[in-house]
Symmetry: C2
Subunit: 340 residues, 2 copies
């Protein structure tokens, strides 16, 4: 086992000073050609690699980006991370991922740890817990310290920073319109609790679309589910209780669970009933029938979020100027709405 060589060691071996080595390795024209060559050859031989910690300390930049998300076992978030990684790596940044596990406390702890000079900036999507409490002091704090922060998807109006979101309301609106267009008359909505920004916005889109089409909003057709792991029962119950011929679900799990109930109930999809879900993940692509979805373009979101952050870090974008980028959702048509 050979330890990494340092500038100092090279300098000693070669009988020159540390600063000479440092300069030579970076091709400074201050240093004579002969010396430069000698030093570079030696460095190569011993496989010299600059210590990035020392460099970070020196110029107070880490070239690390901190990403805090609620969970990673979730197709949408992983596509966003993939998008962040791509842009970040291309710009020479590493990505440190922390999971808040939907908990406010963990979110705060993660932010604090990372903020202590582990990273240059944050990309974050709020935990459910944080959205419920509406306590954003930890975000304010890092912003105050001059650390750039970009929020995506689960954002808050109360914080001024760059944001990337999808047009959740519009997306839901388009989905409902689409269902109406293909002939649905009664459309159910399976959503999450309202304190989640996305749940609320999508519900709004649903309502607006109905209204604009002169259809009365019927509370009985709307389900608000809090716990993802416990959705089958309320959904089955909905099918017992009501008759409808279209379903909009705010995620693919709800959508697929509903399709299962529909099939069990004896409906033919999409002939008797059509389905659209948010989150264009594996389930949507592979379920039978495949699910028509509102694609949130997670990869692009990640790209943009990373781009925004890096622009701030490298001062391409001025500090006090905040943008909110809204990504257009698109509908991916599949078997759950289109005869196949």
């Amino acid at each position: 086992m050979k330890r990494r060589v340092t500038l100092k060691q090279i300098a000693k071996e070669l009988g020159v000073s540390v600063s000479t080595v440092s300069k030579a390795l970076r091709n400074s024209k201050e240093i004579g050609q002969e010396t430069t060559e000698k030093i570079q050859a030696f460095a190569k031989l011993y496989n010299y690699k600059p210590n990035s910690i020392a460099i970070s300390l020196q110029n107070r930049k880490t070239k690390n980006i901190g990403v805090i998300i609620p969970e990673i076992v979730h197709h949408f978030f992983t596509t966003v991370i993939t998008g962040i990684e791509k842009v970040a790596n291309e710009a020479g940044y590493n990505v440190i991922v922390c999971l808040s596990d939907e908990s406010f406390d963990k979110e705060v702890i993660n932010m604090e740890t990372l903020a202590n000079s582990s990273i240059d900036g944050f990309i974050i999507s709020l935990s459910k817990d944080t959205q419920k409490r509406r306590d954003f002091h930890h975000l304010r704090e890092v912003i105050n310290q001059g650390m750039p922060l970009v929020m995506f998807d689960r954002v808050s109006d109360e914080i001024y920073c760059d944001k990337v979101i999808v047009d959740d309301a519009q997306g839901a609106y388009k989905a409902v319109k689409y269902l109406l267009d293909i002939g649905c008359k009664k459309i159910a909505l399976i959503s999450t609790a309202d304190y989640l920004s996305v749940g609320k916005l999508r519900t709004m889109g649903y309502k607006n679309a109905l209204e604009d089409s002169g259809i009365e909003y019927d509370e009985n057709l709307v389900l608000k589910i809090d716990d993802m792991d416990y959705c089958q029962e309320p959904i089955a119950d909905l099918f017992q209780r009501e008759k409808f011929d279209g379903v909009l679900a705010v995620n693919e799990i709800f959508a697929v669970t509903a399709m299962r109930e529909a099939i069990k109930t004896g409906y033919k999809i999409p002939n008797d009933i059509s389905f659209i879900g948010f989150t264009d993940g594996l389930l949507s692509k592979h379920f039978y029938p495949r699910l028509t979805t509102v694609n949130q373009h997670g990869f692009e979101m990640g790209n943009i979020a990373a781009r925004m952050l890096i622009d701030k870090l490298e001062e391409i974008e001025e500090e006090e100027h905040y943008r909110t980028e809204v990504i257009k959702t698109t509908i991916v048509e599949r078997e759950s709405t289109r005869p196949y």
Copy 2:
């Protein structure tokens, strides 16, 4: 925007020396109580947080763990990451995730960047490309430099280090036995290319189980698919070509694609034909019918991998002693093999 305070600033403000502040903040009994209190109060007021970069430089530890995986949009890998995060965070480590994107070159680049003092140790699962080329010089290099490395799932015999794997062969063996037990007579295998350690091992398990049960291995019932995104055609073809009443698939996508073909062909699942897949992800849990799977316990794998690495880092485990932990797969029975 207020910059973070440093020890130096506190020292200056309070008219004491830096080392006094440093000691006082860490409750050294060398420092008088009065001074200590004064300093701590001041630090608290100005929200002093030690600069972790400086500390890293000082003790040549970063408290970061580097994780390199082929992709993140993959249920198995995300569960492993979740497992790693948990153990790592509890031990005060951050996790830096890098994606190799199944490419050898990216894997090498990622390793090199991280190895330049960004992290204390690696957890890695090899890219397909690396397994195909059998070029492991980058792994050897970091090990040589004294950086601990733990491999999981996609490992190589040629490298000496700690490893966490599942009993892939055994898992496949058990799955086939299970299918035979519930009455299957002809079992097809849908696998990946053989250069992937897991594909090979699972195929081996399949063969052994048949052999031990006195059933002849029939090449025509075995599919080797290289490209995940292009599996429907060969699978459909298999259903055209052959008759069988059981299927073992090495991942849930293949399994689910096969179920779709079976249903289209008019089979009833599980009455006419039964299915088992590896990877116990969302698809398995939510498909209709739900898929019986060989669970690889990704979360536990992550836990163990992180534990192993940290034990090495904190010298709880001696340097030159390498373990290979084999995790037992378990079969999760669901609707695809059991009448419901």
